[in-house]
């Protein structure tokens, strides 16, 4: 009887909380709601230390926090969410920690693909953004499976940055753009020049062509080409970046895409991030929205 009434009270409070949250979101929705929010999930290790937990439990607590925040964001009407799960720089951590994070990633990818998960609830498409070639076979396979399994979803998008840095993304986009231009002009190129001699292109007569203006009449790379080849081109630029733990830097995250994305740095560690941090950020975003829209249009 006591257990039943205890369960009843929890349902009651949970229901009241849910109603209050929907009420808050109805008020917030009077103003502009960001289309895309990016999160730097900083502070899991510090949380584990603070709570005297084993290190892996800090990351698990971080995952729970992520699911809560995703629920709030999608409920509010945010369509795209990007999270910085693992940087290329993080490979420099202790191998045991890196392995723990990779195992956790595979485990949570499988959780996300189960029936009844947040992915099915919000019709979410998953993208894994980054240099996936740096991941081990098992992790890459799990990521690719998740992307294939959710490819038909269109209501919302979750972009998980793994083995990612902005600099690596920019170099990759430039490399792909260069390959495209070379492929576009390949027939012209091969007919004029026959081979390499001492590192310089020469024709059949041995004449050195290194000084030819190779871009005369040949397409050059434009800003749109680089943007199209960014890993993040699948989503619009973020409206907001939120970094937990009070740190005020982007740490090689979305540097190209955040020219007009205000950065918020709540002091809470990632597992401590709450609905109220999100509400505050959205309210401040609404205060600055017309300025940011104007700046985006001018750019």
């Amino acid at each position: 009887m006591e257990v039943e009434s205890g369960y009843g009270f929890r349902q009651l409070f949970s229901g009241l909380g849910c109603s209050f949250r929907k009420f808050m979101f109805s008020i917030l929705s009077v103003g502009p709601i960001p289309d895309h929010i990016a999160f730097i999930m900083d502070g899991n290790r510090r949380f584990a230390k603070k709570q005297h937990l084993v290190e892996g439990d800090g990351h698990r607590a971080g995952y729970k926090s992520l699911i809560s925040i995703l629920n709030y964001c999608y409920e509010l009407g945010v369509k795209y969410i990007t999270v910085y799960a693992f940087s290329i720089e993080n490979f420099k951590r202790q191998p045991e920690e890196v392995q723990l994070l990779m195992d956790l990633l595979v485990e949570k990818i499988e959780d996300l693909l189960r029936d009844g998960s947040i992915v099915t609830k919000y019709g979410m498409r998953l993208y894994f953004i980054g240099n996936l070639g740096l991941l081990s076979g098992a992790v890459r396979a799990a990521a690719e499976k998740a992307m294939r399994a959710t490819a038909h979803n269109t209501r919302a998008m979750l972009l998980i940055c793994v083995a990612y840095t902005s600099c690596d993304e920019m170099v990759h986009a430039v490399q792909v753009s260069c390959r495209e231009k070379v492929d576009e002009t390949r027939p012209l190129w091969k007919s004029e020049l026959s081979g390499v001699c001492n590192g310089r292109w020469v024709d059949e007569g041995g004449k050195n062509h290194s000084d030819i203006q190779m871009d005369e009449g040949i397409p050059i790379i434009k800003t749109g080409d680089v943007e199209r080849n960014m890993y993040m081109s699948v989503a619009p630029d973020p409206n907001i970046v939120i970094r937990s733990s009070g740190e005020t830097r982007l740490s090689n995250f979305l540097l190209w895409q955040t020219a007009y994305s205000p950065l918020y740095s709540p002091a809470a560690l990632w597992p401590e991030i709450s609905l109220w941090h999100l509400v505050w950020v959205v309210l401040d975003f609404q205060r600055k929205h017309s300025y940011l829209q104007r700046k985006r249009k001018q750019s």
């Binding site: 009651l12 229901g15 009241l16 849910c18 109603s19 109805s26 008020i27 917030l28 009077v30 103003g31 940087s87 720089e89 993080n90 420099k92 951590r93 600099c167 690596d168 920019m170 170099v171 990759h172 430039v174 490399q175 753009s177 260069c178 390959r179 070379v182 390499v196 590192g199 310089r200 292109w201 290194s210 190779m214 871009d215 050059i220 790379i221 434009k222 800003t223 680089v226 005020t248 830097r249 740490s251 090689n252 540097l255 190209w256 955040t258 020219a259 007009y260 994305s261 205000p262 950065l263 918020y264 309210l283 609404q286 205060r287 600055k288 300025y291 940011l292 700046k295 001018q298 750019s299």
Partner: protein, 251 residues
Amino acid sequence: MVTTDSIRRSSARIAQMPSFALSVLWFLIHLVISIFFIVLGIADAVENYLISSGFLKRYDAINVGKLRYLAIVVDSEDAMQINKALKLLQWLTDIGVKHVCLYDSEGVLKKSKEIILERLSCAKLYEEGDEKSVLDSKTMIIEFTSQSDGKEALVRAANLLLKRLRSLGENQEEKIFTEAQMTEALKAVGSGGPEPDLLLVYGPARCHLGFPAWRLRYTEIVHMGPLDSMKYGSLLKSIYNFTLVRQNYGK
């Protein structure tokens, strides 16, 4: 007694609440927030006075040597107030900052660089290699940047790498497309300045407004408010707080 059924009915009623009532509530919440920021502004002004007058002793001896390179992002509309920019640079000279990069997306400050350098007695224009030079106590090196040093510069560097790819051949692709080569290419196209340690944003929002992305990896980004209401105390406090930061760089 409140039951789950009654909660469901309340949720349904909330969904039907007239939009006018929600608009009024939204407006009231924003009004309260605006009042909060006004009160915060007054508290900041008091703190600024205390810092500028030297009452807060911890700001007396700032280890400004830790700040090797400072960037200032200004909203282009605010950047038209050249006198404000000059005053800011003068403050930075007084604090002892040696290397400053000024950025505004439209290049308003870049167009006024002769006037700025003339009016500041001990400033010189940045040249490549200056970040390693040892300066006397009064000289400050200033770099002027705009959006042509941001995405546009990266695209120019991309075209340089494309030329290299064409001249060296596709089998050299892995050697051409590295971060080190990109840094070199950016230098070659004239946008190879160093990464700032600290970036101060003077404008309505804390965003970098297109500052060269390649140089922002681990830069601390601090919002200073509009240039109109800039304060010496805030500047000193931001630099002081920077000297306390410790970074892991991903490890």
